[in-house]
């Protein structure tokens, strides 16, 4: 066990030592003499490493453009029992400069160890590739090289070639300071035949764009670059297949990187100062307005079409704010643009649709709309004007008065929540199931009200009763007192007193009493002798009432009445 372990350890140590001792890093190029538009391969190979090396290629970026890469390759070889492994990183590079170009020393990191490659010098020649360039190139051609601000420049990119090729990828030019619009949408190149200086070429339009400068000065347009796979008819070694018949089957392709020239456009300012209302329109335009109806009802929508036709930087400028009558509600316009596809100059029609709602009846004149534009052909500012339109608005009676400027809208709910707590000054009472005074008081009151009439009735009755009984009680006393009065001389007076006594005593209602009524009333209350006496006296009184009898008889009768009343009073 121990021996085995030691062996293994030793073997490991040795192999490690071997591996470390043999690590080497080298850089290489596949060709060291190229023309400017040619690419070359650059390789970094690391021998006897277990992991991929990492390389910082930033020092290359100022001298070369990386077309592709890095791609990785691993190679393992067994020779006489000993293993060699190599890892390769490769790039395809395009030189940016001409002359002698040095690929600088690069730092390669392999498992925390840094290795340096050796610098490599290559020669980039301007002239050597001329024939090659003449075989394949991109031509960039502007229609103008000096334009006014906002004036259109059309640039056409054409690919010229003498051999068959396919375009792999295209990088479209970038232009700073321009508004660009594609005229010919990028599509697969279609080749036509042409001749330049007696040499046959195949030509394809790759791209066409209309650019509008947005600033003055000398502006550069970056070149357009393309990577093409070019077929090359290389002679092969003589063999079975060396027959023209097989040529088409054994065509080799070569990847080529091509780019157009950098274009330079001189943008010049306008020859005169633009008017205040100028919004940037350059070209040649006409403006037209139209209403969908000339007679409208109040509160009925009318559409106003503003049509802007012409050639120039359409879609890149605004038309001035339109002035509408105060009593008209105007909604923001809808704009649409239709382009005439078959022209290189951007031509078309821009439409604005305003929706007007007249709120008051009347005759309205819609002001003409004007547009100031710069015409590069005549080199001056021109004003295009539409015609004024008259709109008749009739009140059809169903108008709702609305005030311009006040637009009501719903209160929009943003979120729901409960309402806040109540912080009123309240009186908190202990648990109490009894009914409050407020609730019971109407009942009490109503009961009281119901009882009031009855209660009042009773009260009056009792009072009436009490008067009679009081009279009843005092009847004898009052009667005797009245009889003994000095002025009680006449008999008729005495008679009245007597009857008054009986009335009070017997609760009689009638005031006109006579002996017969007295007799009936007293019948049940006194003895017959007394009754006879009373009736006799009453009759006597009645008989002597109006006769002038002697004083003595008068006094006698009064005395008789007195004694009779005293006697009778005991019984009734």
């Amino acid at each position: 066990m121990g021996i085995k372990f030691t062996k293994a350890f030793l073997l490991g140590c040795i192999s490690c030592f071997q591996v470390f001792s043999q690590i080497s890093v080298s850089a290489s190029v596949d060709v060291n003499k190229i023309s400017k538009s040619e690419t070359f391969g650059f390789k970094i190979t690391a021998l006897n490493v277990d992991e991929s090396p990492s390389v910082d290629i930033s020092p290359l970026s100022s001298l070369f453009k990386v077309i592709s890469g890095p791609s990785q390759q691993t190679n393992i070889q067994w020779v006489n029992g000993s293993m060699t492994s190599s890892r390769t990183l490769s790039w395809t590079l395009l030189p940016k400069k001409t002359g002698k170009v040095n690929i600088p020393s690069l730092e390669v990191r392999i498992s925390n160890n840094a290795y340096k490659t050796k610098p490599i010098g290559i020669i980039v020649e301007k002239s050597i590739g001329k024939a090659q360039i003449a075989n394949l190139f991109i031509e960039a051609k502007p229609n103008k090289e000096e334009v006014y601000l906002g004036e259109q420049v059309t640039i056409t990119y054409r690919l010229f070639t003498r051999s068959n090729l396919s375009v792999e990828s295209i990088e479209y030019p970038k232009s700073v300071g321009f508004w660009s619009e594609d005229l010919l949408p990028a599509r697969a190149a279609r080749f036509n035949n042409t001749q330049i200086n007696g040499v046959n070429y195949k030509v394809a339009t790759l791209y066409k764009s209309a650019i509008f400068p947005t600033q003055t000065g000398i502006l550069d347009i970056s070149p357009m670059t393309a990577i093409c796979n070019v077929e090359t008819n290389q002679r092969k070694r003589r063999g079975v297949f060396d027959d023209p018949f097989f040529n088409s089957m054994f065509k080799e392709t070569q990847r080529k990187y091509i780019e157009s020239d950098t274009l330079r456009i001189n943008v010049i300012p306008y020859p005169e100062n633009p008017p205040v209302d100028f919004t940037g329109a350059v070209g040649d335009f006409s403006i037209n307005t139209r209403l969908d109806t000339l007679n409208a009802n109040v509160n009925e929508a009318v559409t106003m079409h503003v049509m802007l036709k012409g050639t120039g930087n359409l879609n890149q400028f605004k038309i001035n704010q339109l002035n509408f009558p105060q009593s008209m509600e105007v909604f923001p316009p809808k704009s649409s643009f239709t382009r005439d596809e078959f022209r290189d100059q951007i031509t078309g029609e821009q439409k604005f649709e305003y929706i007007l709602i007249p709120r008051q009846p009347g005759s309205f004149l819609l002001n003409p709309i004007s547009l100031i534009y710069f015409n590069p052909a005549s080199k001056r500012f021109v004003t295009a004007r539409s015609k004024a339109i008259k709109l008749e608005v009739i009140d059809n009676g169903s108008s709702i008065i609305t005030y311009p400027g006040v637009k009501k809208e719903d209160v929009s709910v943003i979120a729901d929540d409960i309402r806040f707590i109540k912080t009123n000054n309240i009186k908190i009472l202990p648990h109490d199931n009894s009914i409050s005074v407020w609730v019971t008081s109407p009942f009490v009151l109503s009961i009281a009200f119901f009882l009031i009439p009855t209660a009042f009735g009773r009260f009056y009755k009792i009072r009436d009763n009490s008067i009679e009984s009081r009279l009843n009680k005092n009847a004898l006393r009052v009667a005797l007192k009245d009889l003994n009065k000095k002025d009680a001389e006449s008999l008729s007076y005495a008679t009245t007193v007597m009857y008054k006594y009986f009335k009070s005593k017997l609760f009689l209602q009638s005031d006109n009493l006579d002996p017969s009524i007295l007799e009936n009333s007293l019948k049940s209350k006194v003895s017959s002798s007394q009754l006879n006496k009373v009736v006799a006296i009453a009759k006597k009184c009645d008989a002597n009432r109006f006769s002038l009898s002697s004083e003595t008889s008068k006094e006698k009768i009064i005395k008789e009445i007195s004694s009779m009343l005293i006697e009778i009073d005991k019984n009734i």
């Binding site: 309240i426 609730v439 109503s446 009031i452 009439p453």
Partner: protein, 248 residues
């Protein structure tokens, strides 16, 4: 004299207690405003042990809502609604919270008149109804006095009398009905987040018949040693643990 002393002591005591409640209420409101909802809940509940007021219940409901206890919140609002059924704030909040209750219980479809009657009963407290009856009586009695002394017999008068009496009878019926409802039926709100309703008051696995969630209002029909028999609005019936519901 004795009675007078007794009344005076009662009055003083009650006013002192009132003052105590009021200070507690203000205190609790301050806690609520400071977002110390748990303290506010404690204070409000303390007041409600011996006293009641719709505002206290309402604020308690708010505080419970703020701490996320929807069941107790609805319970408090239901209590507040019982005391003041037409308060717009209470109605707003309880309706808002009812939308958060998970259980959707559709009560059996009633006839229009019956639902109108029920909503009428719900909108008034017993005191309100008794007060209405009292006012109608008062109206009748005043008319009686006027008639008694003016002795005008008018057919319109008679009709008005009959109508008033009809109203009194209707309102009396409403009051009685409401009273029976309040005194005989117990209602409660589920306060536990989810409750299994069982077919019998036994905690066994197989007798779960349905499940209700917090905030659902139920009618309590029966009590039995820690269990309550509940009936949902749509008639579903079962037993739940009494601690999971809070009686209104």
């Amino acid at each position: 004299m004795k009675i007078f002393t007794y009344l005076a002591t009662l009055f003083i005591c009650s006013s002192v207690i009132c003052q105590d409640y009021k200070s507690k209420f203000i205190d609790a409101n301050e806690h609520y405003s400071a977002q110390e909802y748990l303290l506010a809940i404690e204070k409000y509940e303390d007041i409600l042990i011996n006293a009641e007021h719709q505002d206290v219940y309402y604020n308690l409901g708010n505080a419970y809502y703020r701490v996320g206890d929807i069941g107790n919140s609805i319970w408090a609002y239901e209590k507040a609604l019982e005391l003041s059924p037409r308060d717009s704030d209470i109605n707003f909040n309880i309706n808002y919270l009812r939308t958060m209750v998970r259980d959707k219980i559709i009560p059996p479809n009633n006839m229009y008149l019956i639902s109108l009657y029920k909503s009428l009963v719900l909108k008034f407290t017993i005191s309100d109804l008794i007060l209405f009856i009292g006012l109608l009586f008062l109206f009748l009695s005043i008319k009686y006095i006027l008639n008694f002394y003016t002795n005008v017999i008018n057919p319109v008068n008679t009709i008005i009398n009959y109508i008033t009496i009809a109203f009194i009878v209707t309102l009396s019926w409403l009051t009685l009905d409401k009273y029976w409802n309040v005194s005989d039926k117990y209602h409660g709100v589920i306060v536990a987040s989810a409750v299994d309703v069982r077919s019998s008051p036994l905690d066994r696995g197989e007798n779960v018949i349905f499940r209700v969630h917090e905030g659902t209002k139920v009618e309590i029909q029966n009590f039995q040693s820690g269990w309550s028999e509940i009936v949902l609005l749509d008639g579903k019936k079962g037993w739940v643990l009494s601690k999971d519901i809070r009686e209104i």
